[in-house]
Point group: C2
């Protein structure tokens, strides 16, 4: 007899499950129950409608050939019975039925397999004035259309985005593209706080500030002010920010109420717990997409990792498992990437905070460079931060800020997924052609630097550590005089300048051999060379500034 | 006592070995003997000097801060004794000395470790007229300077590039950038013949032809014609091509004479045989760079794979091994990448020819798409061809033509290096953000298509096979009428048009159930859907056209 598969939620995971299951099983009876009015819409592109880069909202819920992805489309081309406006109210696991409301009527539907793709809901900011007009989430299609309407009507001169995670940063960037004066308010101390470590976030902040966006970091929102029922300002402990449009992007939470009420296990991340086949604690019920718990492939941690890309993969695995394969979803790397005007910021795997939380020992290095041969036109700065486990050499995570970040992030995704070590990374036969790369790819350089640190051949000091403890070090600038004149670290208490080319001859008498020396150059290649020289000259405490001037995220002079 | 390391060849592998060894061993006595006048120059960038993108030749042999990478530089900053104009004539392995000529004097030098970085030499085209002025290789600095001189002097209106490998394609593209009318002459039937399979090379040829470059493929050069001692034309069996400048780029061969004369083993590829530590058959003698044999990581084949990026990796491994580490070079993937005006063509791992040569069974798929969400501004076509081993699911190789090819190639390099399977590729947590990617990365789509083919769920037909055997199939175009009107495959003998949305209803009576049906759509997503439907309707011989219209490299109407 044909399988009856009922899918709750008709956006990413749900519709992908349905489509794949149809291809795997032409006989299956596939019913999708979607609460909202739209099916299979692409929410990830919403910010680019606000920026004006995407001209028509239709691209989000129509196929490229122009047909709407509505119930008729899914019926005709996919043989899927997808019903909108169907609000599932309960799951009866014993009788394998779901109860739902459609047009005010109570209905039930039997299932052999049930798939939960119930998604997530934006977290609200419950502050005085939160019900003023002009304060929006940025999650559902109607949020986006309302924001667009308000901008178009000319009511918005200034906007405030609360939350500097992915959605907040994307929306802020897109508002700025649109010409709206924009401020970002973030409770934590730096941008993209779940993605990037502090010094990398400082680098990512530079193009944002340069665009004219104002950053209020470590700022606590206290209330909204209004005029004639419309928001006029956000009051924070760091000042009052005028805004006729406020986007609240402080996070989303998984929709697990239905699953919890049915007695399914909710995991430590607050999502619906699933096994490697994405089965919940009831083997006839699967969960996929934002509501399902993910496992970080590096740390093994159970995480809430809502991503459209993950939802699609979930859907495929669920459909294949229902179709009888031993399909396995191996977990996520919590990869994230964000366009920041002309540059890019992203990360994959574990950052410092994630390593500490998981109790994984790590060595990291901040490694600057260019995304291609530095003399090629269009070459741009790219700073990587690579983390690896010293005992095993296993790579743990990568952060990248700059031009060409996306490419290195994706390469690292493959490396991390396959359990690569620093040695592996160093020897990848990365495509080399001057318009695209240098002969030693940035990832290989980063791997070599971390390996040198682990082996004790190089003692890098992270820029944020030098920035906090400048008094502890005598900075030895080994660049040429014209370079030090052009750009140097600001407010250095103790400093010596001696170009690398003179260090072998003149280095002996630089300072007392017990002086704590920190070498600084442009990209910390000469710095590494200088470390070796000074150490061989008997200096006892020599290290070099990771990232050099190119990767220095703080003030220069 | 300090180690004596003598390095023959002071360009990529040699200088990298020297620099790394110095950092590993401050005491070592490191001497480099270079035959030519220049040290450590970056030949890979030479084409971009001809295009005019690189303004100064200095970038190739000066450090970014402006100092020349000459003997004084290496002495002062690296503590390396690098000597130019030193032609090594013999290796005495018994006494561990090398004999060399410097300024007409015979000298000898003892070594503890000897490193051969003797490079490669361009193959000459010995045809009548080959000694005419204006015929050049494109390998050494003086080749490039001579070409530039001739273009600048106004003598060059038309150029011919013989050989459509990497160097030939790069130089041709750069000559065109410079405004020179350019023809490419290639003995094999398609461009980049060692890199790409036929149908992928056809796609790569499109932007080349669109630039105005004339392609003479499968053409045999017969002689050069001259006027006043200068070349005026290349005579081929496909016509005579006017050219006042000819670049001969038909390949290079490794310089192994010195090694062979010393009795070192020469491998099956014609390069100096080495083990995984890059030691030759004499453990005190290493070889690195273009003269050293490489092992393909996927097939295990011994190959000649001259690349600046590989030379750098070799140098690092050799230095680390001399310094006492168990350093291992794991081999190459023969990765290659080429800019073709606004697009990119590249490959890594094995193509069809390499699989056949190695006796490895493969299934392949040509999978078209866009490099990012198709509705984002700037989205461009990207066609992938992925090969995998059906028995194991192990991925074997990737070819990519289009925008964003470089990123997928590099991701695939990591995957191939780590022995990834199609399942692995399908589940990589690739960075998803609309300006950079779609929710299902092109690589995952390609992996899914190949997996569907291996499982028998999809029967793709390669475009070159349909192109050759159109008579065998009835083409079923399942696109919408406006799409078929806009662009369809030319000269189709048997054709039915029926949009996918009508196929479930109308498909039953399409044709006799034994008819050989080939489904065609835009990117072969609907084609796959249609395959499933028609098969469930009882059609016995259904397949779909891989790549669809987007990936169709032949004539359209």
């Amino acid at each position: 007899m044909a399988k009856k598969a009922v899918i709750i939620g008709g956006v990413a995971a749900g519709m992908k499950t349905a489509a794949r299951l149809r291809r795997r099983d032409p006989e299956a009876n596939i019913i999708v129950l979607e609460r909202g009015p739209s099916l299979s819409y692409g929410a990830c592109g919403f910010p680019y409608y606000i920026s004006g880069e995407v001209k028509s909202f239709k691209v989000f819920d129509h196929i490229p050939q122009g047909l709407p992805r509505d119930a008729a489309f899914f019926k005709n081309t996919k043989g899927i019975d997808a019903r909108t406006g169907c609000n599932v109210t309960a799951i009866d696991r014993k009788n394998k039925t779901v109860a739902y409301e459609e047009n005010g009527l109570q209905k039930t539907l039997p299932y052999d397999y049930l798939v939960l793709g119930t998604g997530a809901t934006p977290v609200k900011l419950n502050l005085p004035g939160a019900d003023l007009k002009g304060i929006h989430s940025f999650w559902f299609p109607w949020d986006v259309l309302a924001v667009e309407e308000e901008i178009k009507s000319g009511q918005v001169k200034e906007a405030a985005v609360i939350g500097a995670g992915f959605i907040g940063m994307e929306v802020a960037e897109c508002l700025r593209h649109r010409g709206v004066k924009t401020a970002i308010i973030e409770a934590k101390e730096w941008l993209l706080p779940n993605l990037l470590d502090e010094e990398m976030a400082e680098l990512a902040a530079a193009p944002v500030k340069a665009s004219g966006i104002e950053l209020y970091l470590g700022a606590k929102c206290e209330k909204f002010l209004g005029e004639n029922g419309r928001v006029s300002a956000v009051v924070t402990d760091k000042g009052t920010i005028k805004a006729q449009l406020v986007i609240v992007a402080i996070g989303v939470r998984p929709n697990v109420e239905l699953a919890a009420a049915a007695g399914l296990t909710i995991g430590p991340s607050g999502c619906i717990a699933v096994n490697e086949h994405l089965q919940t604690s009831d083997p006839y019920i699967y969960a996929g997409g934002d509501c399902a718990e993910n496992t970080n492939r590096i740390s093994g941690a159970k995480v809430f990792a809502p991503m459209g890309s993950t939802a699609n993969k979930h859907g495929r695995v669920i459909a294949d498992h229902i179709a009888g394969d031993e399909a396995v979803f191996p977990g996520v790397l919590q990869t994230g990437l964000c366009r920041l005007f002309q540059t890019e910021a992203g990360a994959t795997g574990l950052n410092e905070a994630a390593c500490r939380k998981a109790g994984i020992d790590f060595v990291s290095a901040v490694v600057p460079g260019f995304d291609r041969l530095n003399y090629m036109p269009g070459a741009g700065r790219l700073v990587l931060k690579l983390l690896a486990e010293p005992s095993s050499g296993r790579v743990l995570g990568l952060q990248a800020v700059g031009q060409g970040a996306a490419k290195r992030i994706d390469t690292m995704v493959a490396a991390l997924s396959m359990g690569a070590t620093l040695d592996d990374l160093s020897n990848f036969d990365i495509a080399y052609a001057p318009p695209f790369n240098g002969p030693i790819d940035n990832l290989a350089t980063a791997a070599n630097v971390v390996a040198n640190k682990i082996a004790g051949r190089m003692r890098g000091v992270n820029p944020k550590d030098y920035h906090r403890h400048k008094e502890d070090y005598t900075l030895v600038d080994v660049r040429l005089p014209f370079e030090t004149k052009a750009k140097s670290i600001a407010a250095v208490p103790k400093k010596i300048s001696l170009p690398l080319g003179e260090l072998r001859q003149e280095g002996e008498t630089l300072a007392d051999k017990k002086t704590k020396l920190l070498i600084c150059c442009q990209i910390n290649l000469r710095g590494y060379e200088a470390e070796t020289i000074l150490r061989s000259q008997g200096y006892e405490d020599v290290s070099s500034l990771e990232g050099g001037l190119i990767g220095w995220p703080y003030e220069t002079e």
